[in-house]
Symmetry: C2
Subunit: 349 residues, 2 copies
């Protein structure tokens, strides 16, 4: 049995979310609510305290209680949460830099955290966000291809009208949320057709099993092969996950995959530059030469790909523009605008 003040608070939350209280200026007085809900004024006050803690409402003695949708600036500065899987590794510094450059020019404090692609950390971080309401959130989904145990927390963000922009990875279940991603299905196709143009026919791939990007790149990959009339051989495909990234090539299935490469494969589409590099290490240990014996193509155009030799073929996306786009969308959403999701195209490097 829910306590009355909870019930009142929930009812008010619903009303606010439904836009029943217009335009954010002045609505509802304690005495009126007391009559409306048939409870005492104390109970109403207790309920309103909850809303106040959530930043949904602002009380002014002598004046009234004000619904504050729209940017609830805190001392004039917006505060935005940014949650990515990693911060200092790989392509994330570039993305963060892009986000930062937009937010900082808008008098906006940013709070940056990393999930390390673990749902328990994602949970802890989302709970923090819910405790200290922020004006908006940019977040990269965690293991987006697996059932996510934190969907309910995202729903609560939605209920509280906190704008959320997903970047890079998003949860297909959350249809209402905006995302800024790369067009991974098209990327998969591009990678394959780039290889086919070079006359390579026997194409394998390494994909990530626990996020959507991996699934979509594989889908594009498979579709492109099929359209070219080429078989998609399961033996030429290797799946890995966050947890076994550092050793999947050494395990039994990985070893089988490597033997197959040696035997009858011309080229491999790699999930990203990191994987490509790990593969190259294994290949050079087995004295398979790249690109003479085997061609590689990968995604992300990270620092890895330009440093290593021979230089990798990689699909690139403008990483800082990526972050900037997400940040700009979020700011517009905080201003109350409706935004559409976008999938940015890849470019071959």
């Amino acid at each position: 049995m829910e306590p009355k003040y909870q019930a009142v608070a929930d009812a008010l939350r619903r009303d606010i979310a439904a836009g029943l209280y217009r335009d954010g200026d002045t609505l509802l007085t304690e005495a009126e609510l007391k009559d409306q809900f048939g409870v005492s004024r104390q109970t109403v006050r207790q309920a309103i305290s909850l809303l106040e803690n959530d930043g949904l409402v602002l009380r002014r003695r002598g004046s009234g209680t004000y619904v504050t949708h729209g940017p609830r600036k805190h001392n004039g500065t917006l505060s935005v949460g940014v949650i990515t899987t990693y911060i200092t590794d790989y392509i994330f510094p570039s993305i963060v830099r892009g986000i930062e450059s937009v937010l900082s020019s808008e008098n906006c404090v940013m709070s940056l955290s990393a999930t390390y692609n673990r749902t328990d950390r994602e949970r802890a971080l989302l709970e923090r966000v819910l405790e200290t309401p922020v004006d908006g959130l940019i977040i990269e989904g965690t293991k987006t291809a697996l059932p996510n145990p934190n969907i309910a927390l995202y729903e609560r963000l939605w209920e509280r009208n906190i704008p959320v922009v997903f970047i890079n990875g998003y949860y297909p279940q959350l249809k209402r949320n905006v995302h800024v991603v790369t067009d991974d299905e098209a990327g998969g196709r591009m990678a394959v057709s780039a290889l086919l143009e070079r006359g390579l026919r026997r194409v394998g791939g390494i994909f990530k099993s626990d996020d959507m990007q991996g699934h979509l790149r594989y889908q594009g990959f498979a579709a492109a092969l099929e359209e070219a009339g080429l078989p998609v051989s399961d033996e030429r495909i290797c799946w890995f996950s966050t947890e076994n990234l550092s050793r999947f090539l050494c395990e039994e299935t990985g070893a089988a995959f490597l033997r197959r490469l040696r035997a009858d494969t011309d080229a491999v589409v790699c999930y990203n530059d990191d994987v490509a590099l790990r593969l190259m290490e294994q290949l050079s240990a087995q004295s398979i030469s790249v690109p003479d014996d085997l061609s590689l193509i990968s995604f992300d155009n990270s620092a890895f790909s330009s440093i290593c030799s021979p230089k990798l073929s990689t699909l690139s996306h403008p990483k800082d523009a990526f972050g900037r786009e997400a940040a700009r969308k979020l700011l517009r959403m905080i201003e109350g605008a409706q935004e559409e999701s976008v999938a940015l195209p890849w470019e071959l490097v």
Copy 2:
């Protein structure tokens, strides 16, 4: 006139901070407090609510109200705030990486923010930290050489027993706080003696006016010159601040400084690599050659110093070890340990 519940809350805060309530397990009941303070139970409850919001206290129905000093883990994960002046620029990624590597291995979520060396942002961020209590804070001071308007907020962190480690820059006023810094006074001396060893005698310097590092490096610089029996000429010293960094060399005083360099100066100690680079641009525009006409030495050993040509002499400190040290200290402090401040030595590169 402070309301009673505020007074009660403050009194309790003081008692807790003073360690009057032992060992964090079980103390104070509402009925007792009601008698002790001579107020109603409702008022006591209102006071305790404040403490609860601050995370100082935990209430369990049927059991009691528990003082929670020590790591108040949130679902088993610690949460730590990290505030630096910048995140993605210059030497900060390395420092952040160091912090991150320690914290992430301890099941710890990190929330990273930047002040851009502005005290208003520092204020907004500290207020956020006070609203959502964290288990600890690593922070780089903002304009540490100027009177800081946010000292009161730091005092409040201290009152709440939230461990704070200053990194890089700290406020001398806050004597009780721990800091992890570079030994800037010694660094200033080292820079000068390195130049003197090369036989250079007429030494100038560029220093930052608004943070302690600038003042200390200048102090070491001046002391070393004096001990060598050389004059410290004000005309060979140029001061800049965060705000005029990008143009101080173009302004009148900067121009005078540059003329003086051309006239009778052998070497310049630069506050950091960034400044050194900006100076080199100006010098090459005036066709003054480095190091033939003028030697430069600077601080930080950032990516700049190794990329630019000719390579800079720069004083280096291990940036990621720096961050790791701060993070380790903080974690130990969260466990209740007393920690000492350290000043890490420089090394010439």
